[in-house]
Every structure is written in C-alpha cells, then in structure tokens.
C-alpha cells in the first residue's frame, strides 16, 4: 500500500511516552531549547544519509577530470552531460545524469584528514578529533532535537541505520546510548527483510501472544516490585517493543507491500532495497535514516574494476530514490545527503600490489545534496585541474552539516547537553580546529 502522506501512528503508548519524556524535559534546556524553537521554520522533516564509507573517488563520481590524463582518471575518461547544462558526471552514472536538476554537488569539500576513523569522525561531527570529548554524529544530534524528547511520536526509532552501524566511533558521542542508531540488521534484498528484533521468522503472532502472557505471569520479581522506577521503565520499553512486534508499525519494513516494477527500478540488491526502505521510513516520519553502504568504497586496489561493478548499482538505487521521493511529494521535505569520509587520491597507484588503486584523499572531495530545501541543479565550489586541492569556495564539514541542521530547524549555534555541563556547540567554531566558511547559501 503506497501513500503520499506521512503516517504517524499514535497510540496510547505514544502519548504516555510523550508525556514521560516531555515531562522530564530530558536534556532539552537552555540553548538547546533555542534550537528547538527554530523548528517551525524547518523546511526538512527527514534526512536520508547515504554513507559511502571507505571514501569513493571524487574523480570517479561527481568531479570527473578527463583533461588530467590517464594517470589521474584512468579508463573513466568520458564523463557525460547531465540534464543541467554545464554539469558533467562520471559515465557510469547515466541515470543520475538525468536527475541532476534534483540535486546539487559540492566539489570543494575539504578537511585534510586522511585516516578512516578520524575522517569519519570529522565528516559526521564537523570536528577534528583529539579534544577531551567525542561529539555526537549528525544522526544522533537530529535524534536529540527531533526524536522522542522533542515531540516525535512514531513507534519506529527516530534514528535508523540500514543495516549495520559503521562502528568507527560511538556515533552518539557524549550524548550516550539513548541516541545511538537502531541498526536493522537483516538484508532488505532478501524475500523477507528480517529486521532484528522486529521480525522473527518461525514464530507466529499467536505464539507471540501466548509467550507474552507467559512472560508476564512468570515475572515474579516484577510483580513484587511494581512501582519501582526501573521496573516501570522496563515495562514501558517492553510495551513499545510489542507494539512494533505485533502492531502495524513494523510493516514499514515489509518491502513486499511495494509493487514489483518499483522494486526492480531500485535494484534488487542490498543498496537498492535499502533506498526503498529508507523512503518508506521517511514517509512514516522517521527523522533520520542512514544507509551504510555495504562493502564500502575503500578501493586501494583495482579501483576501476570496483567502480564498474558498483557504480551502476549505486546509480540505480540513488536515482530511483530521488525520483520516487519527488513523485510522492516527499523530496521537498527530505534531505538526501551523499558522501564518504573523504575522496580518493587523484593520482592512480598503477604499480603492484595496487594495480590501479587509489589511496585516501582528504584534501578535496565531493558531496551530493538534494531535497528538504536544498536546490537542485547547481555545482558549488571547485577543485583544481587534477582534483588535488580546493580551487575555490572551500566547504568544511561543519558548514555542510550546519546547513543540514538549519534546514531541519536545528540551530547550528545552539548547545548540546554535555554530561559534565561543559559548553558544547551544535557545530564547531573556527577556534575548535577547522576553518568555517559559512553555510551553503548558494543552494538553499
């Protein structure tokens, strides 16, 4: 069953939960409250983050440099025109070339961090690592300001990752475990997307219900300690869990409700079906969904063979996602954000054992942004002739992230609740290590 409206199933539990978390006010105070107050102006309601971990080559995707020659672009030397005049992208992305009016490219993203874990941290928090703290990732920040403490009433957790967390750092940082993503596990390309905890194969609903009764009867200590805050919290969590297990909300993961031709267009593979699942999630109001690209893009070896294999799959999934969101009227309220932790070294490592591989590159790389208030059809900033350094309009991770926050109605200058009461800004100041070039005004 397809629908173009956002469904927010509200149950008694939701109201109870809203009351509980609302009443305690949780952590949303002071400047954090200021961030919340900005919400009515938000253009975007959700973010779909396509996390290209490992770091895809910018020359091989959205910043082609055919003029740089074979040592730089290898066999991928015939970029194609898009439906936006003047924007060319890699020839392995023909479907995305037809959607360029829906997205904008940032070709001057830079942080000069060259190791996966530190670059992942920087790209997902806007900050250089090494201080006293570990800051939360964008998904956790959105979950803080747009999740259960801030009026979200869905049964599906507010921050979902398809299908495994990236695990490079604790994504919730100092916000703590409550703001970690819910990892679905399973594989959406399988006949049944077995979301861990939600869908258990081989147990009928009837047995589920009988087991639940049995569990309640046998909870002797729980009965003896009714009223204890820990017991009450556990009971609350369990009721929520059963709403997902037995109720309709969990059906969001049932991709068989979609028509076959559409599923085919997304691509019958993990990435394509993850894009479809992400669309279904934002359609139901989930504020943040990360697709953690399975297998990654860390192409030290045989870069071009990998690109020929994987880019068509990405092309299909991402272009269909943009089209499908647009067709349903969801693109205007959904940000689609694509990039890795860095790009890849423009000069190809032809010698053994790399055989045409690319090393890490944090000097300059690119991002794709669409929807939720981002205009399409632009390319901002540029890299130099060989794609090695920023030529003009540098964009730092904090600038990009801050623009996403603004569109989501989160004040980038607001404060995050720090466990030791330290001041912690939503996005960093230049004094914290990376320059600040300001938000991406050209495309919002």
């Amino acid at each position: 069953m397809n629908t173009t409206t956002r469904i927010l199933p509200i149950t008694r539990r939701d109201m109870l939960r809203g009351a509980l978390f609302g009443a305690t006010g949780l952590l949303v105070t002071g400047n954090a409250g200021r961030a919340l107050a900005a919400a009515p102006n938000a253009k975007a309601k959700s973010v779909i983050q396509i996390w290209m971990w490992g770091g895809p080559g910018h020359l091989d995707t959205f910043d082609p440099k055919p003029e740089a020659g074979y040592d730089y672009c290898g066999p991928l030397n015939s970029p194609i025109e898009t439906n936006v005049k003047g924007i060319r992208i890699c020839e392995l992305l023909p479907l995305l070339a037809k959607q360029a009016d829906k997205y904008s490219l940032v070709r001057s993203l830079t942080h000069d961090v060259y190791a996966h874990e530190t670059a992942s941290y920087t790209m997902q928090t806007g900050r250089i690592s090494g201080g006293h703290d570990v800051y939360p990732s964008v998904g956790s920040v959105v979950s803080l300001f747009k999740g259960y403490g801030a009026g979200y009433k869905g049964l599906i957790p507010p921050y979902i990752v398809l299908t495994e967390p990236q695990g490079r750092f604790s994504e919730a940082g100092f916000l703590g475990g409550r703001y970690l993503p819910f990892a679905t596990g399973g594989d959406p390309a399988q006949t049944r997307f077995a979301v861990e905890g939600v869908v258990l194969q081989g147990i009928t609903d009837q047995r589920q219900r009988s087991r639940r009764d049995y569990l309640h009867q046998l909870d002797t200590l729980g009965h003896a300690m009714e009223g204890d805050p820990q017991v009450a919290a556990a009971k609350q969590a369990e009721e929520q869990a059963y709403e997902l297990i037995l109720g309709d909300a969990g059906k969001v993961f049932d991709l068989s409700q979609e028509k076959d031709p559409l599923r085919d267009r997304y691509g019958r593979n993990t990435f394509g079906q993850s894009c479809l699942a992400a669309r279904r999630l934002v359609e139901r109001g989930v504020p943040y969904v990360t697709i953690n690209y399975k297998g990654g893009w860390d192409t030290h070896k045989d870069n071009f063979q990998v690109m020929r294999r994987k880019l068509p799959e990405m092309d299909k999934g991402l272009s269909t996602l943009l089209e499908d969101l647009s067709d349903r009227g969801l693109l205007s309220s959904t940000i689609v954000w694509w990039n890795g932790e860095f790009g890849r070294k423009p000069k190809v490592d032809w010698e053994a054992p790399w055989n045409g591989g690319r090393n890490h590159w944090g000097g300059v790389f690119c991002a794709l942004l669409a929807g939720g208030g981002f205009q399409g059809g632009h390319a901002i900033g540029s890299s130099d002739a060989r794609g090695e350094a920023v030529k003009d309009r540098p964009v730092y991770p904090g600038d990009l992230i801050g623009t996403i926050y603004e569109l989501m109605g989160i004040d980038p200058a607001g404060n995050l609740p720090h466990p030791a009461g330290d001041s912690a800004r939503v996005t960093p100041l230049a004094s914290e290590g990376l320059p600040v070039a300001g938000h991406l005004k050209e495309i919002v």
Binding site: P157, E164, Q166, G177, Q201, T220, L221, A420
Partner: protein, 509 residues
C-alpha cells in the same frame, strides 16, 4: 524427545519468602552500625535481609560478573553452614573471573582501547590490559598500582603502565591533569578555578612522547629540557611544590597524592568501591568529589577510607567488608523509598558484557567479537567471555546495543545501563537470541538426560534464575504446557525464553 511439562508438581516450599527473609536486621560489622544509625536518625525502615537465592545470584554478579551455574546455586542453597555467605564471598574473591571482571571495570576507567579516539594500538592496548589484570590478580596494593602508572616511563609495548599517559585524547599538560584528577582523585578538574588546574598541569609539562623505528612503538619519557609555558607546580590543595633540579615532577606529584593524608586519593577509591557494589556512591556521582557535593554518610565514608589505608590499600579487604555487611545483603524490595540512604538493594540492569556472558553460559553458545580494524591481536577464539575482552575496540553489536562504555573519557556514567526499546526488542524477539535458545546444547542436553519433567523445570529455573520455582510458578508452567501453546522442546524454549525476559534475570537484584 517429546516432553510434556506436567505430572505431580512438588512445590519446593519457599514459604513465600522468595526474595527476602522477614525479621529484625542484625548488624554484621562497623558499616552496618554506621548505616543503621543513619536510618534511625532519619526514621527510615530498611528492606528485609535478602533470601539465600537472591544473595547467591547477586554476589556472583557483583563480585565476579558471572552468573552462578545451576550446580553452584543449588549447592549454596543446600549448604547448612550458618556462615555460608562469608565463605562464598571469600571463595569468589579468589576466582579467575574476579580478575577478569575488575580488569574490565578498570579498563573502562583507564580507557583501554586500541582505536579511535584513544588510539593505543592493539598490542599496546593488550599489554596495558594484561598489566591491569595481573595487578588485580595479585591484589597489588592500590597505591602501588597508581604509582606505577603515574611515574611510568618507557615503551608502550614493553613498559605497559606508560599507556596511562597515551590513553587520553588530550595529551597536553592540562589534559593530562584533568585525566589524573578524574581517575585518581574522583574530581572534575574542568570545574576547578583555572589556577588550580594550571598548578597541577605543571607536574606533567616535562613529559615527552617519541616514536621509534618499530611500527607504532611510542616511548613516554621524562624530558627535563622540554620547553613549556606552564605556571609553577602547585598541588591541588594549594601547597606550592619544589621539585629538585633534574627531578621528574611526576614523582613529586605522586608522593603528594598517594598517601592516606591526601584528601582525594583514598576517598575516591573508597567511594567508588561502594558505588560499584551498592549502585550509588556515598558521594554521588562517584567521580565528582567536591566541597559542595557532600557525602550522604560522612562517618561511613571516613570509616571505609580508614580501612583501606590501614589494610595498605587492599581492595579485596574493602570488598570483603562491604559484601559481608547486612547493608549490602538487603533485599531489593524497599519498605521506605530511600534509595539514597541505601535502605534497599537497588535494581540495576546487567552490564552488557555480563548479560551476554550469562546468555552464553545458560545456552552453552558462543559469540563473535571483532574490531573494525582487524589486526592479529584482535581475533578472539570461540567461547571468549566478553568480561575478559582485552581491548575496548573489540566488540559486537550486542555489546554496543546494551550500552557498553565507548571508553572515550573514563567517566563512570559512560556505562549506560538504562533500558531501551531496542534492547527489549532484541531480547524478546531477535533471531540472535532465539537461535541461542533453540540451538542451545545445554538445553538440549537437559532434555536428553532429565526424564522427569519436574526435575527439568527445576533445572531450567536454577540455570536461569539461580533458584527453585515457587508454588505459584509451578502452576503457571503446568498450565502453559497443558494449554497446548507449546509442546516438547518448544515448551522448554518458551520457559527459558520467558525467564531470560523476566525482571529477575535482566536486573541485578
């Protein structure tokens, strides 16, 4: 094998006292005298004494982070020795798992982690871990344990305690001072006046770090010629320090810190030990000692400090005192709401590592652990217990889901044992847990070997909850199995499933 759970159910008489033993509380040691006096002063009626079955489970989980086996629980319950609790405590303090569990706790506080953001590197993390574990195994006096770290110099691979100075993101003198204050003084130096932090930072301004020709080796050393713009060294109590020329100022700081007279050092550990075992510090939070955060019971804290110092910093002695007290052995069912006065044992969700180890023990199954950056040191064998993982970067999605601390800062509250919906979903309904139960070699062996259904039910209860079923529970089990909802193996799996999802299993109580 087909098993129908019915037959003559012989209720094991527990006289309704499943969780506690009514009657006047008897003070067992000086701790109790001080705590009872506080209750009297405040008019608090404490909980009853815990039952033997509650106690045996609790003391295993608290002292060694390990569930008692069915046999261990049954033996303890059958033991007629009036002194059996004290005997069990002594035995647990000598178990290998004691060293595992407390090495895990210390590794949280000391941030033993190979990868981001601590970046010790796998073999250095493990050298550090093994040094910590060995220190606990030998019951090294705590003052010596701290001194070895604070004054360490040498290679991260060969002189393990130098990793203390590597296991922090901010290695500038002020950053080091903050970490030392948090770890060994239980103090949040970032809240101190600037001069106090600067004065303490000066003790760490002659610390050098250098790499060698060996891959990822780092030497931490005293560098007398190191230039610094730091203020004069002043102890955090305001006394100026006078390091001799050529003397490593860290030695001077350690001499000041590590003494019973120091107002932070002994107090910090005494308070933390109480927090670890009773779930709440006498000063709460346990790592936020300051003048305007007074102890709930100053005499009690002073007594624990005195015991620690007079036993020459014997942590096991302190644990033994606390574990043997009636205060520790109270039931979890309160009669007055007075958690901050220790008037009942607080419910606490099992630590992530303890929970998964317990599930593996109950089912006889194994877990897979890995690091996001695989190195030879990070490969773990089958049946690895997670309380004994040597490196915080070696993990599993279960541990992350259940709030294992990321070891970013060493603050106690990094360990998050608050229950979440996703955790409940996982234990109730994940393939991971269902597979463990359905394919459990332990449950299958029980069903093969135990022909009497009553005995089988008893064994499942002992294995999961460390106690015998109550009369009421017998009736429920019988009703469920005769209802036709689940038969044979499914009935046993359903029972084990229901018990691991109970409050009693998921929470220390």
């Amino acid at each position: 094998m087909r098993i129908i759970l019915c037959g003559t159910l012989l209720a094991v008489a527990l006289s309704g006292a499943t969780f506690d033993i009514p009657g006047a509380l008897v003070p067992r040691n000086r701790i109790d005298e001080l705590v009872f006096a506080r209750w009297k002063q405040l008019g608090i009626q404490p909980a009853n004494l815990s039952s033997d079955s509650v106690f045996v489970r609790r003391v295993y989980l608290d002292a060694i982070g390990t569930l008692p086996t069915a046999r261990e629980a049954a033996d303890f319950l059958a033991d007629q020795d009036p002194n059996k609790r004290a005997v069990l405590i002594d035995r647990l303090l000598e178990r290998d798992e004691f060293a595992d569990y407390w090495a895990m706790k210390w590794s949280d506080l000391l941030r033993v982690k190979a990868e981001f953001p601590i970046d010790l590197w796998p073999n250095a993390a493990q050298a550090y871990y093994h040094w910590i574990r060995d220190s606990i195994r030998q019951n090294k006096p705590y003052d010596q344990f701290v001194r070895e770290m604070l004054t360490a110099s040498g290679s991260n691979f060969r002189s393990a305690p130098v990793n203390f100075y590597r296991a922090m993101q901010n290695k500038e003198p002020r950053g080091i001072a903050q970490t030392v204050a948090l770890t060994f003084m239980g103090a949040r130096a970032e809240k101190w006046p600037k001069e106090r932090l600067d004065g303490m930072a000066a003790f760490f301004c002659k610390l050098g770090y250098k790499h060698t020709g060996e891959w990822k080796e780092e030497i931490v050393f005293f560098d007398p010629d190191k230039k610094s713009d730091n203020a004069a060294a002043i102890f955090p109590d305001g006394t100026p320090a006078h390091p001799a020329a050529g003397q490593d100022p860290r030695e001077v700081f350690a001499d000041w810190l590590i003494t019973p007279r120091n107002p932070w050092f002994t107090r910090n550990l005494a308070n933390r030990a109480w927090y670890w075992l009773l779930g709440r510090g006498i000063v709460q939070e346990p790592d936020d000692l300051r003048d305007d955060n007074p102890p709930e019971n100053p005499e009690l804290l002073a007594y624990l400090e005195k015991e620690l110092a007079s036993s020459h910093y014997d942590l096991k002695h302190l644990f033994r005192l606390i574990l043997n007290s009636t205060t520790y052995q109270l039931s979890p069912i309160p009669r007055t709401q007075a958690a901050e006065h220790f008037a009942a044992y607080p419910l606490r969700r099992l630590d992530a590592e303890v929970l998964i180890d317990a599930l593996c023990q109950i089912t006889g199954t194994s877990e897979t652990y890995s690091s996001s950056i695989p190195e030879p040191y990070t490969f773990m064998p089958d049946f690895q217990r997670s309380i004994a993982l040597p490196d915080g970067s070696i993990t599993s999605s279960f541990l992350d889901l259940y709030g294992r601390p990321p070891r970013d800062t060493g603050i106690e509250s990094e360990r998050n044992n608050k229950i979440t919906d996703a955790q409940r979903l996982h234990l109730l309904n994940s393939t991971h847990i269902q597979r463990k139960l359905q394919q459990s070699p332990v449950l299958q062996a029980m069903m093969r070997e135990i022909k009497d259904p009553d005995e089988l039910v008893t064994q499942v209860f002992l294995t999961v909850l460390s106690r015998y079923p109550t009369g009421e529970e017998w009736k429920l089990v019988q009703a469920h199995s005769s209802s036709g909802a689940a038969r044979g193996q499914a009935a046993v799996v359903d029972l084990a499933w229901a018990l691991i999802n109970s409050t009693e299993f998921q929470y220390r109580h």
